[in-house]
Amino acid sequence: MTSTATKPSGVRARGRAAIGARTLRTDRWWAYPLTTFTVLASFVGYATYAAIANRDYFAAPYISPFYSPCLSFHCGTVPGSHGVPHLGWFGTWWIITPAVIILIFPLGFRLTCYYYRKAYYRSWWLSPPACAVPEPRRRYTGETRFPLLGQNIHRYFFYAALVFNVILTWDAVLGFDFGGHIGVGVGSVVLVINAVLLWLYSLSCHACRHAVGGRINHFSKHPVRYKAWTFVSRLNPYHGNFAWASLIFVALTDLYVRLVASGVIHDPRVF
């Protein structure tokens, strides 16, 4: 008698075409999950280092996106942060890196993002690793149980991300203020590109598309929302591209500020 544990399932289940191979795909189906895994793991590794480093995040007038807004009184007291503007909301009792206070929001936004869900379900969970390639696990509950049920609060992270986009846009504007004189450094351009990519990523989001008009059925009665929905719908097919571009560039922006703040490189001024 065959036990439940050994009973053939999936493409090898009884009644289906008896084919031994788990997949007959001959293309490089593993390239996408492998690449995705590598890039995401690299980002997680770098972001973890940058967050716990707790230094070298401000080189006037540039602030790292990982530390903005700086909410702790300790902002500015560590090397590479002197002069950083801070709000001090968290008082003196907050002694660990202030980055963790704010990173939860952009991290949550990306973690619950519909594009990244595809990316990490395929590459980290192998669920499935590629189309028509079986996943290794038998048990599957999708997004019906905790913690993946929490993917449904993506819209709240989207709203929070908009607040951060405004802050980082303001940081980019301040990146042109060199002690009261308007100037342009390479860092100014880097901060602007970072802000633009973050806006494109956020505005092309599926939750944004739903919020601006996707939930209504009578577009003809809501012409403004229809236009907004149409605009977001044009961006939406590129959401994945914006997701990668903004993810990589936000890390590069932090790296640039970090190198300038630590004195490794000098910020070239255009004028």
């Binding site: 084919i19 001959t26 519909y114 499935p128 609060i153 739903h210 059925n217 929302r225 097919p237």
Partner: protein
């Protein structure tokens, strides 16, 4: 085996095109068992997989069971897996496939009947579970009026040819037999979306979609979109919007408070 031109005749501009020989590995068998069988079949430039399967059936394997009809990608009959990927045989150009044997199997998600023909009753059983169009009370047939902008979204989903490739590739159905009774699959998610987004449909389909048809089991890995021969953006335009509509109802307490406040103020809810 690499495709090679027949070398017994010199090519001439006004002569019949010289056929190539393509190696085919076709699954032959039934629910009791079967195997991949090798064939060498003449093939002409510009032909598709269905053409060589017909030639195989006419010349070497008269009893080959295969389902087909329009040969134009419009009927959805000739669904099968070609080199491990779910495709329509009539739309799979030989020139688009890599050199070497072409492996052709039946859809591996559904029970096989014989050779390349499968039993797709699963899909028709689910079709009966989706509530049909429900017009508002008091609106008789013939009096339906709606703006084009309001039905554009629904019309995209009407392009579905019910080829079942999306159902075949969906890993929830393909890899998890225990999910079949509770998971309708992408084809029926677009059916729900088509009706839920319809300006004159009065039914609320979100409960049924979430509680009985398994929307939460979908982890949006987009394989259904990748294989759709009609080019329907199943994930972006149907599944994700329905997940967001479901979140409106179930997972967005702030949004619900806001919408109930709008109703109390006498403002009509957006819809």
């Amino acid at each position: 085996m690499t495709s090679q031109p027949r070398a017994d005749k010199p090519a001439a501009a006004d002569a019949e095109p010289v056929p190539l020989t393509r190696a085919l590995r076709v699954w032959r068998g039934d629910k009791a068992g079967g195997a991949l069988t090798d064939y060498a079949v003449p093939a002409h430039e510009g032909e598709v997989v269905l053409d060589v399967l017909h030639r195989l059936q006419a010349t070497q394997a008269n009893d080959l069971a295969i389902r087909w009809n329009c040969k134009a990608g419009k009927c959805g009959s000739c669904s099968m897996e070609i080199n491990g990927r779910p495709r329509l045989a009539c739309m799979a150009r030989l020139s688009s496939l890599p050199d070497g044997p072409i492996t052709v199997t039946p859809l591996r998600t559904f029970p096989v009947i014989r050779d390349l023909v499968t039993n797709v009753t699963f899909n028709y059983d689910w079709a009966l579970q989706v509530r049909s169009f429900a017009p508002p009370d008091g609106l008789p047939p013939g009096q339906y009026r709606m703006a084009q902008a309001d039905v554009d979204r629904s019309q995209e989903f009407r392009k579905c040819i019910e080829c079942w490739l999306c159902q075949d590739v969906c890993h929830v159905i393909r890899d998890h037999d225990d999910a079949k009774p509770v998971y309708a699959g992408p084809r029926y998610f677009i059916r729900h979306a088509e009706l839920d987004m319809h300006p004159l449909d009065a039914a609320d389909r979100r409960d049924a979609l979430r509680e009985r048809h398994g929307l939460g089991l979908c982890n949006i890995t987009k394989c259904c979109t990748e294989v759709c021969p009609a080019g329907i953006k199943i994930t972006d335009n149907a599944i994700i919007p329905m997940k967001e509509r479901s979140a409106d109802q179930r997972y967005d307490p702030l949004g619900r408070v806001l919408r109930s406040w709008r109703r109390r103020e006498g403002r009509p809810p957006a819809g």
